[in-house]
Amino acid sequence: MTTVDDTGIVEMAWDPITRIVGSLGIYTKIDFKAKRVVECHSTSSIFRGYSIFMKGKDPRDAHFITSRICGICGDNHATCSVYTQNMAYGVRPPHLGEWIINLGESAEYMFDHNIFQENLVGVDFCERMVAETNPGVLELANRTESPHAADHGYKYIGDIMRSLNPLEGEFYREALQVSRSTREMFCLMEGRHVHPSTLYPGGVGTTATVQLFTDYLTRLMRYVEFMKRVVPMHDDLFDFFYTALPGYEEVGRRRADLVCWGSLNDPEHCDFRYEHMTDWGRKMFVSPGVIRDGKLLTNDLVEINLGIRILLGSSYYDDWEDQEMFVTRDPLGNPVDRRHPWNQHTIPKPAKRDFDGKYSWVMSPRWFDGKDHLAADTGGGPIARLWATALGGLVDFGYVRSTGSSVQINLPKTVSKPAVTFEWKIPVDASGAPLSNAIERDRARTYFQAYAAACALYFTEKALAEIRAGRTKTWEPFSVPDEANSCGFTEAVRGVLSHHMVIRGGKIANYHPYPPTPWNASVRDSFGTPGPYEDAVQNTPIFEENPPDRFKGIDIMRAVRSFDPCLPCGVHMYLGNGKLLEKVHSPMSVILST
């Protein structure tokens, strides 16, 4: 399916893309003369219908069911669903139960970012891959000394690349082991990875003893020691790409329109009441925020909730304009839009893929700022989280401090390394403009691993304080009301996650979860705006040295993987193969099918 026309524009498709979670296809047109991607469409091929088969079920089953949406961050769904149920049932779990969830979710960030960064993304930067795509860069790497060699032990950048080689690389295998010890930490708190056994509305079933937290803390401190090597190692590797390949800033770049829904509630403040959501949202240990072109628009969760819009583009659904509105006013009396998830109806209508008509299962989530429907992305999670937290200036608990323009992470002494402070700063390009690109998404991931570890240190202290004071209760009873409208907000590993539930007659009348991947992987919406993957890959410059017949597309793969694609999180998503842009980039008269 590699097709060249007389302008030198080549159609190339990657389907399925490996080293991500789920089935994703990327369909491009590449101008090899200009060394640019000129057009990109993303596709995925799975429809399961959660919102459909959850109708009429007992609301208390929601977290067990929605966990199954995703096989790498299912617990984020379970957590978000528990938050949603807590709001509906009016129950506030004991503090200890909340600290245990926070410890489980922190472990999930530590695990998931680690395995994705080192065993999936890292391979795109390993010696074997760089040798096959940019031999000159590898040669330079072998001659370039690592600025932070003393911190991580790899004398040359080429040594870092070799250590990332799949299976053979020493660091690759170490990271795989770390992904297991962090999952042990997770299982201490939530029972099982990835679909937790001990989470419930009202709290957790975990048996909270001194031993539980000792077992967690000892593993955590080994992880902290590990991160003291990993942060400088990745800084060296990523900085090297900017110097080795001038212009690499443009790979995967798009405007810094980022969304973060905040995560890790503070039980001192969070009562799960919608009426107080603005306040307790701002007390989260990761701050919420909608960022437009690098600037903070809002960090008010109520405003964030009301701004969510679900658009249909060219998807295999019937619209719900003529269907019942479930929620016309939120509990504060604010009007709720028909295109808000509370009022959404999922009505599938499978059809043959037709690029001139319906070609996609995805519904495009957008954030409405009062004027525009922003096709904002999560950048794979960490970059949006750090950006929103840095600008928010709300977080300050010793181990982490937001300065208004950066985030400082303070890690204590470990077995062989002294205390260290890392600082993540909002990235900018040479002209000072906000920089949201492949490398910075990847870099933020490493910093957020350290951030999550720092949070976990604090949560362990708070949990142990509860135990030592004899407050060992982890769960609070509740009853299911006949009617309720509720929502939950958190950060799945790869970005924003919200659940929206309507209960009628004690049963689920409507349940729509919105995970990060529909935001990132959405196709062109009803206004014609492309989704973030498509936008980021389009106009990505090509640095790979291979000619078309041996082309691997490494720069495109780095751009796509920087978003940490997780296609099962699409929930009810099928992103169709490319519908042509209104704006024709090339003089092709015949579009050959891929």
Partner: protein, 352 residues
Amino acid sequence: MAADTQSGQGADPLVHILWMNGGLGCDGDSVALTAATQPSIEEIALGALPGLPRVAVHWPLIDFECGPETGADNFIEWWHKADRGELDPFVLVVEGSIPNEAIKSEGYWCGFGNNPATGQPMTTNEWLDRLAPKATVILAVGTCATYGGIHAMAGNPTGAMGVPDYLGWDWRSKAGLPIVCVPGCPIHPDNLSETILYLLYQVAGQAPMIPLDEALRPTWLFGATVHEGCDRAGYYEQGDFAAEYGSPKCLVKLGCWGPVVKCNVPKRGWINGVGGCPNVGGICIACTMPGFPDKFMPFMDEPPGSRVSTAASTLYGTVIRTLRGFTAKTADEEPKWRKRGNELLTGYQKNW
């Protein structure tokens, strides 16, 4: 993770493992395999256990290969090779439930790569139809692929089912193996890697036919109930039950189905012996069972059979075991709508 590209002929045979995550799933079973330590995937791939044949694992989750279609290192080309009969022997791993593509006239529920002849996605069902006759073993991993699982719940729009529902419970591979089912939602990491290990030894001629029970589960992994392996069973015997989550006592009255569920998790822990379900405070929702999830919902209600059996639990004996046997038989059967055909029987009113 391809060791090399040779076929399996010769003195040092190469076994290909083709991992198809294109069903209706969540990739949780792929992720689980990265957690396995007994053995780990790197030990299998690098031949770190005595007597293992050489293995080439074609696994989307961590495969090095990622080139474009028809270009360099195209991952899906391995599937086309298998389809053309160029890979032998191979183990086909299926993850995710199999939708019913026959209940509609157009479109598709899930696919994996493209069909070169049409340019449309190749459906998971079509891959199964093409590869099943050529595979030495079909290994269904996780409860979706084995029995349908969550996506086959009442009211689902896709008519989802398990691999045995699709290919037939009596299906045999060309080598005479039944479909091997390792359920669990997600699958237990070591239950999966250990089954893969067993099958590799069997394919290499070093182990006899894998022992499976009536639901095609390896008997040594699924022969005992959760309850029989649970360290809270002592409370049950004493009639001492938890009334609130967070209690260290027996969870049966809070929704735990352990007494009738075949699963080794409380005994094995979840990862390196850490975690689990009722042993660490999580009710057993029966996620390994063919009747999952429908026959166990609402999950947080006390199982109907347990009222009698807990009341009489101090009279441990024949009566209780008979009662349990009755419940267990129902739980071990799938709901009736999970089957092939042109009709959608789940109760969903379709709009197409």
